[in-house]
Amino acid sequence: MNRGRGITQCGLALLLLTGAWSGRVAAQSTGAIDGRVTDEATKHPLKSALIWVDGGRQGATADSDGAFRVRDVRSGWHRVRAARIGYRPVILDSVLVRSGETVHLEFALAPQALTLDSIVVVGEVDRVLDPLATADIQRITGAEIRRLPVTTVQEAVALSAGTVGESYRGGRIGESAFILDGLGVKNQLDASTNTLGIQVPTEILTEASLVTNAFSARYGQALSGIVNVVTRDAGDRWSGRVAYEGDRPLPAADDHGLDRAVFTADGPLGRGIGFVGVLNAQGQVDGDPVNAPAPTDPHDPRTAEPWVLPHDGAERLDAAGKLTIPVSTQNTLRLFGLRSAAQQYLFDPAYKYDETFAPATRTVGSLYSAHLQHVSSPEARHPFGADLRVGYFDQEFIRGVPTNQPGTLVGAFSGQTLHFLDEGLARAKDTTAAMGALPGYQAPQLSSNTPWGVPGFFLGGASRGDLDWNRFRELRLQGDFTVAGGPTTDFNFGGELEQQHVETFQRILAYLPVSSLKDTVPPPAASDFHPQSAALYGETQMRIEDIALTFGLRYDQFNPRSATLGRRFSPQRSISPRFAMSTVLHGATFVASWGHFAEAPDFQYLVNSAFDDTTRTGRFRQGNPDLGFETATQYEFSVRIRPTDQTSVRINGYVKRLDGLVASVPLSVNPDSSIFGNTDYGTVKGAELILERELRGWWGARVSYTLQDAEATSSNPFVLLNQFTIDSLGDTIRPARVQFPLDYDRRQSLTVVLQARVPDSLGPRLAGSPILGGLEMALIGRYNSGLPYSKTNLAGDTIIGLPNSNRLPSQTQVDMLLRRSISVFGWRGGVYLDVRNLLNAVNIEAVRRDVGTPGPSSGEINAMATAAYNANPQPIPYESPRYRAWADLNHDGVISGQAELMPLYLAAARDFTQPIFQYGPPRLFRIGIEFEF
């Protein structure tokens, strides 16, 4: 960790240092267009040729070498016109600008004495070989997302090489940042264990991308990757789309209760103002479907109906809107708002037969931002771009016992808010009132509603008594400036300031008063503090012939300003230099990069917390407000080749050193107590191979393969740091610094994306219309080697062998999307079939650590049943709700004795331990229909 003396001094130093360079780095929601204008006949450069983008809002004038550069061009399709008096203008239609990249165009103008219409050509640039693109960017456009069997931004990004869910390049969850239209958004409270809280509907996207290497110094708060999302502006005329997808018409085994409706509209509001709006509503009867095998006991209700889990319904509503307001010719204001509300009932095996008392969760996230963009006029001699952004992010999470069960409107979608027991007390963070038993909570009992009747394993009558609430709010100011240093150089600088507000409340075993012995009923944990974060950066990029150099420097600071422990701690600081060089040799682009990255730890590690899990780190953990930055240093070497016009190959090799990662370390002598510290470190090494055949003609393909090795001293902050060494006799003797595979150390992964479109002229016709012609198909195939896990003894308290020395089985999955355009009375639209896990592969995502299989061993089941029987050996009379006639072997009205009771306890143990969430999702269908207007 680097500590500076103050933000101002560091900022000045940074600016002075980077001022020696002049260059540019595109804002992440924008790219650039550069190139040359020449005389078609003489091949001489054309000085003073005028380049217009989209009718002249942006542009540049060619210099004496005919070179030009247009900066801050928004990501998306553009129309670029080159003109000069005495020459026939040329228009390149459909120039695709991608965020963070420079599009290179070559204009050759033909001399023409008369004024003639422009020549319109369709051009697409070679982005793979662009040597100015020093970052590893794997992107997917909004149009591509519609053509693929993916629904969310996360699913789209997960197609990138080096991803395991939301873990990138072997990093832990939460080591990434989310950038929406250039504005950083991060749930700094609990990014490692929770979601962002907002979900950007893919219908509003221009593109989404994952940047995994030396990303711009403009971005911090990430160690492993940046997920960059750019939303689209409104079109010139009103258009929209309404779509519904679901699995209603399918047979029971394939109907998981999905209903999703999407409505989008965009168009002009007058005076140049454009509006884009998206509404996404989704309900799922089974919010977390699994492909777990059905049990075999006929008395288990899941045996006959294993498809949909009860009390697992989920619903979400996402509403996004964007206004684009042209303030003046060179200034544009964009106002963006997004609100996501998600709630889900959580299936808990212990409450399988008394689901009313099982927990539920609700997350509501909001993001509101304003972005004022200034771009230079085409004639400007000293182009200058500025982006001023202000954003407000608010995320509230609660988990507990719902007090209402709203009726549903369509499927599982109710459109109403779930409320939770003692939600008000949690919001008030009233730890004094929460010292006693919380109102409304009662002790759970052993359920009598099970098929087995016997008092064991299953709970009922009341909830577990957990209440967990938190809220994170952030006001972020961000300024990004671009100064041109010539046609091939840019200089970027800027900074950001974040004022945050963290509130948390946790109470477990709420039906009991807090005990004086904290290990029985720990006290409620609450926090309320206002951290501040700030950053300054400067970055330059130069292009000399075919060599591009990028150098950036970023200064980060955060101050928790937490008085949780009764004292204030000084701000934490970090300086992160980043460097990249790229060049073209023999038709291949070579990129070498090195970067230092820093991110503030999750604020959840700064505050005390109560857990009802003594197998991890106890029921109460002390926060550490003096935590510093987590850091990473990454070296990377990349090669990009374009063997043919349509194909490209990218190879990346990288080494990433992680340091200062948060981990739990023992506190005093109590084995159940721990504190967080910046004590973990690790190494990730890997190679990525990406082969692509662009979608031209009727098919395209993309293959990405990743080989990686990710190790650290601890897999996540909630596991006590594995600090030990083994002497020659095999004894654990003293702390050491030993690295083990990280939880997300997926050694090999292969993703194949195939897209095809049947030509309209192909295939048979019916009444003049093609049957197969126009049919679009996309296939995504995945192979992932198994993730690591640690094996333990039967008691679960001792690791056998080294941590994470065992591997789960590999996983495979094939997804498919078939889409066919339709026209209904003049309305254009489409029907589609989206199938996830087409082959219904049974993927094991977790195993029991003691036996290495999803389910327990028969010995463990016997032991559980025997223990439960010994605890409650009493007979069950006929009038008892626990009486089961089929178990009363002698029909005397009482189930008694080992002969009659033990079979019930054994069946109950088997039922309770049947693996459910150890399995991945089954084959899921979405049948959709959409109309455009």
Binding site: D286, E305, H311, V410, G453, Q874, Y878, V894
Partner: protein, 343 residues
């Protein structure tokens, strides 16, 4: 064209939404609503603990009784609710907090009024080790929907009308505000040499009344009911009661205090219950069902058993009573409940 488009979309939406989703599996209902062995009488309970003092809900849909929790370490006596036809208990009223886990809690003599008020007696013995007298006792008022949210009508013991009252029993509502009960005195004479066992001897004192709308602190004596041993409500103004050493069953009009003997047995009756024109009492070890209109007495006997605490349903067609088996030396086993049906 526009109409056709709208029609098409509406038809599609209707078709889609007309298909219901597959519902998740649900928990089967294992509850029975009939006795294990049908018959008249039919045995209702089979547990090895004591099932005692049944009391009907005013609508006659079910009855409450005190059920000994054999499986629980604290040996609580809870209130159980069983449907009128027998079968599976539909509700158990117990203290379930961990703090009460080492305390024997006893809920007895429940009575539910037509307005849903529920009075019962709560006693508890802390630590449940070698204790005879309860550490806590009270006549409490709650509602049938929230029976554990109680207010104390009268702590036990209390002193009134010249004697100490240790226990109250046979709670009976004669109106939504008036609760009557038999006041009792308890004594614990030694049952064996060395007094390692004691008997609980109950002595009926009188019938008393409490007005729950007045805060429940004022107890009045129903005069002339001295040595009452059991009590049953016969209407808004009428009670029936038995008296120690008296072979007759008394009927008292509360407003006029007029007292008549409605039936006289050959021995001293106890445990009276009345519904409509039917009355049931325990005489000796047998049960007698008397038609008050015709005066016919139908004795009910079961070999090698003692019958106690009968309770007639409000519609008088059902009767639940404790049946305790007698062993060869005359000792009673913990009683179970049986059900009789009348036309």
């Amino acid at each position: 064209m526009r109409i056709l488009r709208c029609l098409t979309v509406s038809t599609l939406a209707t078709t889609i939404l007309a298909c219901d989703h597959t519902a998740p599996f649900t928990t089967a209902d294992y509850a029975s609503t009939t006795p294990l062995v049908p018959g008249n009488p039919a045995r209702l309970t089979y547990d090895t603990g004591t099932d005692s003092r049944p009391s009907w809900l005013p609508d006659g849909s079910a009855f409450l009784y005190t059920q000994e929790q054999i499986g629980r370490s604290d040996d609580d006596r809870c209130l159980a609710v069983m449907p009128k036809t027998g079968g599976t208990i539909i509700r158990t009223i117990c203290t379930n907090t961990d703090a009460a886990g080492d305390t024997l809690n006893n809920f007895e003599s429940p009575a539910v009024s037509t307005t849903g008020q529920m009075a019962y007696v709560r006693t508890s013995v802390l630590a449940n080790v070698n204790r005879v007298t309860p550490d806590y006792g009270a006549l409490v008022l709650a509602t049938y929907t929230a029976p554990l949210s109680t207010t104390v009508l009268e702590p036990l013991s209390y002193f009134a009308f010249g004697h100490s009252v240790d226990m109250v029993a046979d709670l009976a509502w004669v109106s939504p505000s008036a609760l009557l009960f038999v006041a009792e005195q308890l004594s614990y004479p030694c049952a064996n040499l060395g007094c390692t066992r004691v008997d609980t001897v109950v002595t009926g004192l009188d019938v008393e009344r409490i007005d729950v709308t007045s805060g429940g602190t004022v107890i009045t004596l129903v005069t002339g009911t001295g040595q009452a041993t059991s009590l049953a409500a016969g209407g808004p103004d009428t009670i029936y009661y038995t008296v120690a050493g008296d072979a007759g069953v008394h009927r008292r009009l509360l407003t006029t205090s007029a007292d008549t003997v409605v039936f006289t047995f050959g021995a001293v009756p106890t445990d009276v219950t009345v519904a409509g024109n039917l009355m049931a009492v325990v005489v000796g070890s047998d049960l007698h069902v008397v038609n008050l209109q015709s005066g016919t007495d139908t004795p009910i006997t079961m070999a090698f058993t003692h019958l106690h605490h009968p309770a007639l349903s409000p519609d008088r067609h059902l009767l639940v009573a404790e049946v305790a088996a007698i062993d060869s030396v005359g000792a009673e086993a913990p009683p179970d409940l049986w059900l009789w049906s009348f036309p």
